[in-house]
């Protein structure tokens, strides 16, 4: 994986993106502002599941009306996120915040899958309930916490506190895979 990142970093596209004056900041801005659409609407849905907002709106309606926007936002997040990684592959791969973020993204995916495959199939039973069943509330709360930590980790990737080119404690060296780090 480390050598793949090194290969990626040497591709002309990666270098161009990394060194571009406007495109990289533009991609980053789109990535950050799309948070409003994707995480913003996801959070409103989660808060509905927790019964703290839009209590008179059926859950199925919130899901069906928000989902297209959330999917669109997610696609933009992933495309811009991949481009940001593509611009700086080696450093990102060896960044512990990036690694935690990727793991949390997988966790968020599992949480969403469990909600849709296990809990949402019975939404008719509690669609109009101001407060949803425990399972749905747990899924909503987990989603809020996971996305919040994803945002914080995403922001922290920019800081070099735990970068491999500095002296680091053995735990960080291991977590960031600094042994395989070159340059």
């Amino acid at each position: 994986m480390s050598s793949f990142c090194e290969w990626l970093a040497a591709t002309p596209g990666s270098i161009a993106l990394h060194e571009s004056f406007f495109v990289y900041p533009l991609v980053e801005s789109v990535h950050v502002l799309t948070l409003c659409v994707f995480v913003g609407l996801a959070a409103m849905l989660d808060l509905r599941l927790l019964g703290v907002t839009m209590r008179r709106v059926p859950v199925s309606e919130v899901v069906s009306r928000f989902l297209p926007w959330m999917v669109a936002g997610f696609v933009v997040m992933v495309v811009t996120g991949v481009l940001l990684f593509y611009a700086i592959p080696v450093r990102s791969y060896h960044n512990i915040f990036f690694r935690v973020k990727v793991m949390l993204l997988i966790l968020a995916g599992v949480n969403a899958w469990v909600f849709h495959a296990r809990l949402y199939t019975r939404v008719a039973d509690w669609d109009l309930a101001p407060i949803t069943p425990r399972g749905a509330r747990v899924a909503g709360a987990l989603s809020l916490v996971i996305w919040a930590v994803v945002i914080v980790c995403g922001r922290m990737i920019a800081y070099d506190w735990f970068d491999c080119d500095k002296a680091q404690s053995p735990i960080v060296v291991r977590a960031a895979g600094c042994d395989g780090y070159q340059r």
């Binding site: 950050v32 948070l35 913003g40 609407l41 409103m44 839009m54 009306r65």
Partner: protein
């Protein structure tokens, strides 16, 4: 009257000095600023998508606006508090930053618009208002908030 002395005073303040010299304070405050950004985005979109006719169509905009209101105000207060903390740590840079000036002007416009015209239209009786007029209010609101966010992000890119 120049605001430069005010910026210098902020930068020299104990809070500004503490945030600037701490290795992690700025990063933590920025993260809080981003979390509130997501929340305010959701609260604004719930109402504006409804006004545009794309959102929760079967529910009155007034009801959704009332539901979203505490989240809008709450996240706005967190944004202002964390934003002020970020500002005092680098006030002089902000003073000379064009994106920062654009952000402050659009923020003022967005807040004034949201709590006056936008609020009145969202709370109004829908049968007595043309859809096109409501859509226009939503577009103006989304544009103003977008300007706040985009210029805010750009502060970090300019010198």
């Amino acid at each position: 009257m120049s605001l430069l002395p005010f910026a210098q005073w902020c930068e020299a303040s104990a809070a500004g000095h503490a945030i600037r010299t701490s290795p992690w304070a700025f990063a933590v405050i920025e993260s809080i600023h981003l979390l509130a950004l997501s929340t305010i985005g959701g609260a604004v979109l719930v109402v504006d998508l409804r006004l545009l006719g794309y959102g929760l169509k079967r529910h009155p905009a007034a009801q959704l606006a009332r539901d979203a209101y505490p989240w809008l105000v709450g996240s706005l207060l967190v944004m202002l508090a964390s934003g002020a903390a970020l500002f005092v740590s680098e006030s002089i840079k902000c003073y000379y930053s064009t994106p920062f000036r654009v952000k402050m002007v659009s923020l003022l416009l967005a807040v004034c618009f949201t709590f006056t015209a936008h609020h009145r239209v969202a709370m109004a009786d829908e049968t007595r208002m043309r859809p096109r007029w409501r859509a226009l209010i939503a577009v103006v609101s989304l544009t103003l908030w977008f300007c706040v966010g985009a210029s805010g992000r750009w502060i970090g890119f300019s010198g």
